[in-house]
Amino acid sequence: MLKKRIIPCLDIANGKVVKGVNFVDLVDVGDPVEVAKRYEQQCADEVVFLDITATYENRDIIYDLIRRAARELSIPLAIGGGIRTVDDFRKILSCGADKVTINSSAVANPNLIRKASEEFGKQCVVVAIDGKLLDNQYKVFVEGGRKNTGLDLVEWAKKCETLGAGEILLTSMDGDGTQNGYDITMTNAVCNSVNIPVIASGGCGSVDDIIDVFRKTNCDAALVASLFHYAMATVRDVKIQMERSDIPCRILMD
């Protein structure tokens, strides 16, 4: 049976984890590779590096980081932030990443989804969609929730699937940073209209929130950031709770 995945997401600026990550026994680890390794040891199913600076000058820093991470990790690694072209995909994949996440560049140029999917296979094309409720309708936003694209969330998700996206990373901009729980209604709206995996994101503030999104939606994975970074819970804590709640998950066996 396919397991529900737990995916820690690291925000990265200039090759370092933004704000650092606190572990119970170690405070403020700045190296994304070290943090990712720790999460792997705690039974993370995949890791996402999100380059929030993503300027042209920083590209070499992130490429170097991906190479180092790929050498150390034996779980899948996804990279997001500032990816605009098929060549960017090629470069990132050749450094050893397994998946590439695109967001605003997919909205600006939907053909990028098709081209990347044809060139490298849909398994590595993750389209990140930032959704927000506006006048009772879910709309697609870009630029960190500042800019309304006018696109209907569900229609866009379906279009991404048709164009060849292998997975959707769905973030609720209303929930993001609030720690009030995942947006169940929004997640359901997307999960019920596409037939590719969906990663729920935005709003996770507790282990219960993760259990909740798996119980109430058909999502395949949950993206988690601050809960882990601030050591409020470990990936292992989540897995134990998932197992108790009869949610299929991967447990590390020693």
């Binding site: 994949l93 050893g96 490298f120 296979g121 398994q123 590390l252």
Partner: protein, 186 residues
């Protein structure tokens, strides 16, 4: 020395990285004399069946692989590299495979989501899958995973040929164990 076949089908660095972590010498290879001297051969692969077979043909690798197979060199196909071990693929157009294993490769017939992406269990633990096509379930299937109402061949083996539909190089400790076992017998 393990030969990781270089035929332009996706991420080979993860296979090389895993070999390095396991302390095994492996090299990306396309030259016949080097491949023929290898103690084991890994066929990696992400992408389409047709492109994989086209590239193997263009690079003149099919005869070399056939020779190695005939003289008993251990061959491990991973993901698409496993699928092309079979007789035919039906990804887009019908394409002949290497034919080392009986059976064909076709789209997974399920109402569940595709790709079949994520961790699924086989008898030794959870391993990472990502694919939309699968091999026929035959007598050569030694491990399978259940997805929706389908039994997906996960490990196939016949004589000196083995294939993993999942990615052992991305499957944490369980994947390492499977690779170690394969490498121990080289």
């Amino acid at each position: 020395m393990i030969a990781v076949i270089d035929y332009n089908v996706g991420n080979v660095s993860s296979v090389l990285n895993m070999c390095r972590r396991l302390g095994v010498t492996a090299q990306l290879m396309r030259q016949s004399d080097k491949i023929k001297r290898a103690s084991g051969i890994i066929l990696p692969g992400v992408g389409s069946f047709r492109v994989a077979m086209r590239n193997l043909t263009e690079f003149g690798l099919i005869d070399i692989l056939n020779d190695c197979k005939a003289k008993g060199t251990k061959i491990l196909g991973i993901c698409l590299g496993m699928q092309i071990l079979f007789e035919k693929g039906f990804e887009g157009v019908e394409t002949a495979g290497l034919g080392y294993l009986k059976g064909n490769v076709d789209l997974i017939k399920t109402t569940a989501k595709l790709p079949h992406m994520g961790w699924n269990n086989i008898s030794v633990g959870d391993v990472y899958f990502v694919h939309s096509y699968m091999a026929d379930f035959t007598d050569d299937c030694v491990e399978f995973a259940e997805y929706g109402d389908v039994k997906i061949p996960a490990i196939v083996q016949k004589d000196n040929v083995m294939g993993c539909q999942f990615h052992p190089e991305k499957s944490g400790k369980v994947g390492e164990k499977i690779l170690r076992k394969w490498m121990a017998n080289l």
